[in-house]
Each structure stands twice: as structure tokens, then as C-alpha cells.
């Protein structure tokens, strides 16, 4: 093992001497000793080969050390984030409850509960975001499905909150339109998400979402009297026309791409 130990010593001349680097060096020596035993057990009898193999597995000890330090920092940061989340949640809950009581005793217009509901909504949105983000990092799922669900959930929660405020604070009769409006917002945001995250099938989403959103918008506008039921339906064929334009544009772009590919004669020259 002399060759490996010399190699480690030589590599550590390029790493500043600290407690952490010393600990890492000791760990590394243990690791390579274990590895040497493992290789012997696996049937490699030539010590020189074992040493060369181990050295080839640790060709850049400095980078290994940097990577370990980086990982430790990241783990520490994660711990801090968890602690911050817990503390932040407690503080947020306290502030919400205090605000609720202050409003209850000072204003007392029967709407203080909205503060509690809004607080709960805000926490739900935040923790959905945290949970989805964690799940998404673990496994790449087509269309970042968890992110999209989180986005839809958050939007619907926001619109539900708006519904409560409009209904109880301002007593607006058509407050319920916030729910279909929320659905339209979900479709729009999902389409935009697909576009900006360069999803391969984004175009199919636009094609589906545009007429759907148009139909819901037609109902909303007709209910609140902005457009008449008789004329408003034109929104739907208009949406289909937009779809047709999108298809045409995509076909033109696709054709152009294909031509570019065919013109690439470098490959054919091979």
C-alpha cells in the first residue's frame, strides 16, 4: 500500500491543512485499505495492480475533497432551511392569530375569520410548493407534472380566497365566477409553463387549452353581462381560428427545420 499512501500524501500537499482535510485524509486511508482488502478478496493477487486500480479510482483527490466539503455545506444549508421553515411557520401562525384577534377586538365587522383563512391558504400554497419541489428533484417526470399540479393547486387556492373576500367583504353576487376564472387561469399558466420550460408537446396544450379557456370565458362574461349569450359564443370559433393559426405556424417552422436538416450536406459527405 506504500504506493497508494505516497500518492495520497502527494495529493494532500495541494490541499490546505485543516482539521477537515486531516479527517478526510484519515477517512480516505481507511477507505483505500478497505478497498484493497475487497480487491484481494475478489481475486486480484498482484499488489501493484491493486494499487494502480485504487489510484485510478482516486485520480483527483483535491476534487473529491472539494466535493465532500460542498456536500457537507449543502447538507448544513438544508438543515438550516428546515429549521427556518419550522420557525417561520410558527412565527407566521403567531402573527396571523395576533392579527385575527386585533381585528376581532378593534374592528369587529364579522370578517376577522378571513385573516385566518388567508393565513391557512398562504401556508398551504407554500408547503405544497416545498413538497412538490422536493419530489420533483428526486425524479424527472414528464412535463414536470408535480410542478404543474402545484401551480394549479396554488392558483385555485388564490382564487378561492378571492371568492371568499368578494362574497363576504364586498357581497358581490357573481363571486362564484372566481372558480371558473381560476380554471381559466390554471389553463393559461399551465400553457405558459409548458412554453417557457420548452416542453416538447407544449403546442398540443395550447391547442387544447385555448378553446377550453374561450368556452369558460364565454360563460363567465355572459353571466356577468359583459357579452350577450347570443353573440358571446363567437369566442369559441375565434379560439379555434387561433388554434388553426398556431398549427399553420408550427407546420411552417417544422418544414423550415426539415429543410435545414436536409441541406446539411456535411453528414452526407461522410
Amino acid at each position: 500500500m506504500k504506493k497508494v499512501l505516497d500518492f495520497i500524501d502527494e495529493a494532500f500537499t495541494r490541499i490546505p491543512e485543516t482539521d477537515r482535510s486531516y479527517k478526510f485524509k484519515m477517512q480516505l486511508i481507511n477507505e483505500v485499505t478497505e478497498r484493497a482488502n475487497e480487491l484481494t478478496h475478489r481475486g486480484i493477487k498482484d499488489e501493484n495492480v491493486i494499487e494502480d486500480l485504487i489510484i485510478s479510482e482516486h485520480s483527483d483527490i483535491k476534487s473529491e475533497f472539494d466535493s465532500v466539503v460542498r456536500k457537507e455545506k449543502l447538507a448544513k444549508r438544508r438543515k438550516h432551511i428546515v429549521a427556518l421553515n419550522i420557525l417561520g411557520t410558527v412565527a407566521f401562525c403567531l402573527i396571523t392569530v395576533i392579527a385575527f384577534f386585533v381585528h376581532l377586538f378593534k374592528v369587529d365587522n364579522g370578517l376577522s375569520w378571513i385573516i385566518l383563512v388567508a393565513g391557512a391558504f398562504a401556508l398551504s400554497v407554500y408547503y405544497t410548493f416545498v413538497a412538490c419541489n422536493k419530489f420533483r428533484k428526486k425524479r424527472g417526470v414528464l412535463f414536470h407534472i408535480t410542478t404543474r399540479l402545484q401551480l394549479a393547486f396554488s392558483i385555485m387556492l388564490a382564487f378561492a380566497l378571492a371568492f371568499f373576500i368578494m362574497l363576504f367583504k364586498f357581497s358581490i353576487i357573481h363571486s362564484w365566477v372566481m372558480f371558473p376564472a381560476g380554471a381559466v387561469a390554471v389553463l393559461i399558466c399551465d400553457g405558459l409553463f409548458a412554453h417557457f420550460s420548452h416542453q416538447r408537446f407544449a403546442v398540443f396544450m395550447y391547442l387544447l387549452y385555448i378553446p377550453l379557456a374561450a368556452a369558460v370565458i364565454y360563460v363567465i362574461l355572459a353571466v356577468i353581462g359583459v357579452v350577450s349569450w347570443q353573440a358571446g359564443w363567437l369566442l369559441i370559433p375565434a379560439a379555434l381560428a387561433v388554434d388553426a393559426v398556431i398549427v399553420a405556424v408550427r407546420l411552417i417552422i417544422g418544414k423550415k427545420d426539415n429543410e435545414e436538416v436536409e441541406d446539411d450536406s456535411e453528414w452526407n459527405a461522410d
Binding site: K45, V49, D257
Partner: protein
């Protein structure tokens, strides 16, 4: 903690092929000297350390399968036996016809047979780990490392390592081509309505795995090449034409009806440099279709040349359907994607794999070139067949690995007789000139 390796697309696909074949790739090499077994084991152990997939166990997780790296001892991988000449063939066949389960701890096994101062090396490996193309490269690297180790004491560590992903195939394309290739969702694995099958008997309990082989003498190889050149055909085209012609004759297909043979193509043709990739599978199929048998074998050859040229003109040859497979495996849990892919995938009933030349100079150990040898694909389950072709010192070996009965073995041998006869027809002019 157990070490896991990602199961790549082709690993999963070859696992899916368990319904069609035993997934083993076989190689047999004969040397006229006693090789250094200890050195052989040392080199192989180093290669196993560099490419841990060879000592891993495949876990068929229903959501996402993976490999688990396992402990091993090189003596479990390499078996060494001293045998008499008369036992040699039996020992070789018994070893080559075994199947290594992917759930087992080892994905490669070697048998070294020492007999009268000579050595025969037989290797089997799981096709899920690498295909014939990479296996050939693995063997050449092995021999180089063995020689450097035995002759100069250089540690045998010079093995390619890197990504095993199917996506490596796109890495040397231009940006536009890469984008276009990754959008080839067309499924080319379409079921042939004529359902042409090799004339095997029905499966029975008495079926066993066997490797039938036939050698085509070295004198004929340059003639095949020359005859092909005259007609604008490659050796592969010549063999395919003989394959078609023999099959029509053997199975009694209607000569006026079409037939299709799938020829394996190495997707590494799209890669300029594979030195940064790991050992893996990069093989696809090219469907060679003839509209009818043709009046004579030369017309059949014309049809074959026309069909294969059509494929070769396509710069994305063999890349169709890969994005679709990848999508299938990504969007669904593995158990579901397997079922869906099985519906869309049609395993070729008749296939051919021209593994190519086994270069003796690169397979030489301690200055001794192999005297003979061959490589072949997996043992296919009826009704599927794969004809493998390799050549060494111009001597071509045709082989067919089948799980069948003695009658099936006779059928395969009759097929080889016809192949020989038809190859002779193809090179008749060259033979006359000689």
C-alpha cells in the same frame, strides 16, 4: 449501503426480450498455447472493477428497474478445466448454451479449457450489458491489456468507461440533426402480414438450447467479396440474399410473395468517437424486404441491394422509434411500459446479425493469434431465429442459436447446407475464374 446503477433504455429493452431469447452473447476462441490463467483472471477482475455492471444483479422494480452491484470472486467468473480433446466440444457446448439469469450476481462467465498444450476460451455475457459490437471491442481491449500486463507489467486498467445511455448515439450529430433524430417517433417495428417463419417444429418439453454452426471456407470469402463488388453488393447483402433464397427453399414459401429479414445494424455508425462511452447496447434493426423471391438468386440479390441501399440513404438509419421507446419508459412505471411496448413492438421472426471480422492480430495473446473462433447472438426461442455471421482469417462462421429439438437442429443444418449451396451459386463466376 448497496450500490445501484441506472438501468438504461437498452437494458430494459433486452430484459423485455426475455420472452424471445435467452439474452446471452457467446464467443469461442482457440489458442495454440497455454495461456497465463492468473494473468487472465487479474485482467478480467480489473475490467469487472472498471465496469461494475458485469457483477451486478438486475432488479425488476415495477416502477423503475436498476442494477445492484454485487460482491464476487474472480474464481466464480472464470472456470478453468483440463480436458481431453474428445471432451472438448461437449464441454464448450455445455458452457455456451447456459443462461445467466439477469437477477444473478454475475453477468459474464468465462470457461478456459486446457487441452494438449492448447487453450480454448469461451465467454458468455448478458446482452443487457453490451451488444456484439461492444463485446468485440471489449475482447480486443482485453487482449491488449493482457499482453501489456504479461509482457510489460502494465496494470490492466485501460478499459472504456462512461455513459451507457442510448442518447450517446446523438452526441456527434449537428445540433439540427440531433434535434431531428430525437423527434423520430415513428415506430418501424411493424408486423409483417405474411408472417414468414423458420420451419421449426412446435415447441415441446424436450427442447434444449443448441448452437448450430457452419464454416464457410476461407477461399470463398474473397470470392464473396469480389462477386458482391461486381453487383454493387456488400458481404451482408450477399449473405442476406443467400438467407432469403435458402429460406424460401427450406420453408416452401410462395416465390411470388414478399418476405422480410431484419438485419442488425450497429448504431455506433452515427458516432465518431466512442472512447468516452461505457460498454452498452447500440444496436437496431434494418428491415430488408424483397417483393418476391426472384427468378434466380441474382435477382434476389438485386432486391436485397435495393432494399438495403434505401435504408443506407437515410442518415438517421436505425434511429427511428428510439424516442418513442424512451418516452414509453419515462412516462409510465416500468411494469406498465413493458406491457404497452410489447403491444407496439414486433420482435423480428427472421433476423441476421453480421458481427463482422474477428481480427486475429487484435485478439492475439502473448503473440499467439487465435487459430479459430466465432461469436454469436442469443439463443432464440421458437419461432424466432437469428443467423449470426463472423469471420476470422477469412473463414466465415454462420451460427444459429436455437432452443429446439433434434429435428429442429436437423432443419437448421439443412438450412446451412442450402446457404452453402446458394453462396456457391452467388460466387460461381469467381470460382470458375479461379
Amino acid at each position: 449501503m448497496e450500490r445501484r446503477l441506472k438501468a438504461e433504455l437498452w437494458d430494459k429493452m433486452h430484459y423485455l426480450f426475455r420472452d424471445y431469447n435467452d439474452r446471452m452473447v457467446h464467443v469461442e476462441l482457440h489458442y495454440d498455447f497455454d495461456l497465463n490463467v492468473d494473468a487472465f483472471k487479474t485482467v478480467l477482475a480489473c475490467f469487472f472493477e472498471k465496469a461494475p455492471v458485469f457483477h451486478s444483479s438486475f432488479t425488476d422494480n415495477h416502477i423503475s428497474p436498476y442494477w445492484v452491484v454485487k460482491d464476487y470472486n474472480i474464481d466464480e467468473v472464470v472456470e478453468v478445466n483440463d480436458v481431453d480433446e474428445e471432451d472438448l466440444e461437449h464441454k464448450i457446448n455445455a458452457f455456451l448454451c447456459q443462461c445467466l439469469p439477469p437477477e444473478g450476481d454475475l453477468q459474464m462467465k468465462v470457461l478456459i479449457l486446457r487441452h494438449s498444450g492448447k487453450t480454448t476460451v469461451c465467454i458468455i455475457e448478458n446482452h443487457m450489458c453490451m451488444d456484439g459490437g461492444d463485446f468485440k471491442s471489449f475482447l480486443k481491449t482485453f487482449c491488449k491489456n493482457y499482453n501489456d500486463y504479461v509482457e510489460n507489467g502494465v496494470s490492466p486498467l485501460d478499459l472504456r468507461t462512461g455513459s451507457r445511455s442510448y442518447k450517446s448515439v446523438y452526441k456527434d450529430f449537428s445540433k439540427a440533426d440531433s434535434k431531428a433524430a430525437q423527434n423520430l417517433y415513428k415506430n418501424l417495428s411493424v408486423k409483417d402480414k405474411y408472417d414468414r417463419r423458420f420451419p421449426f417444429k412446435e415447441s415441446s418439453d424436450e427442447d434444449y438450447s443448441f448452437i448450430a454452426r457452419r464454416k464457410i471456407s476461407a477461399e470463398k470469402f474473397p470470392m464473396i467479396k469480389a462477386a458482391g463488388k461486381k453487383r454493387g453488393a456488400t458481404i451482408n447483402d450477399m449473405l442476406t440474399a443467400a438467407y432469403f433464397y435458402s429460406l424460401y427453399e427450406l420453408a416452401g414459401f410462395n416465390p411470388s410473395e414478399p418476405a422480410t429479414i431484419s438485419c442488425a445494424i450497429d448504431l455506433r455508425r452515427h458516432m465518431k468517437d466512442v472512447s468516452d462511452t461505457g460498454y452498452t447496447n447500440q444496436t437496431s434493426w434494418m428491415q430488408c424486404r424483397i417483393p418476391e423471391l426472384g427468378r434466380d438468386i441474382f435477382e434476389t440479390l438485386q432486391y436485397v441491394v435495393r432494399s438495403s441501399n434505401m435504408f443506407k440513404q437515410d442518415k438517421f438509419m436505425g434511429l427511428y422509434g428510439l424516442p418513442l421507446l424512451s418516452l414509453g419508459y419515462r412516462i409510465m412505471p416500468h411494469a406498465a411500459s413493458e406491457e404497452i411496448i410489447k403491444i407496439g413492438y414486433s420482435n423480428p421472426l427472421l433476423a441476421m446479425s453480421n458481427i463482422g471480422v474477428l481480427e486475429v492480430d487484435k485478439l492475439a495473446l502473448e503473440g499467439h493469434e487465435p487459430t479459430e473462433g466465432f461469436m454469436s447472438g442469443a439463443v432464440k426461442y421458437k419461432p424466432f431465429v437469428l443467423l449470426s455471421a463472423t469471420s476470422m482469417r477469412n473463414e466465415m462462421t454462420l451460427s444459429m442459436c436455437v432452443r429446439g429439438s433434434d429435428e429442429d437442429k436437423q432443419t437448421v443444418n439443412r438450412f446451412f447446407d442450402l446457404m452453402e449451396k446458394n453462396i456457391d451459386l452467388l460466387i460461381a463466376d469467381e470460382m470458375k475464374t479461379e
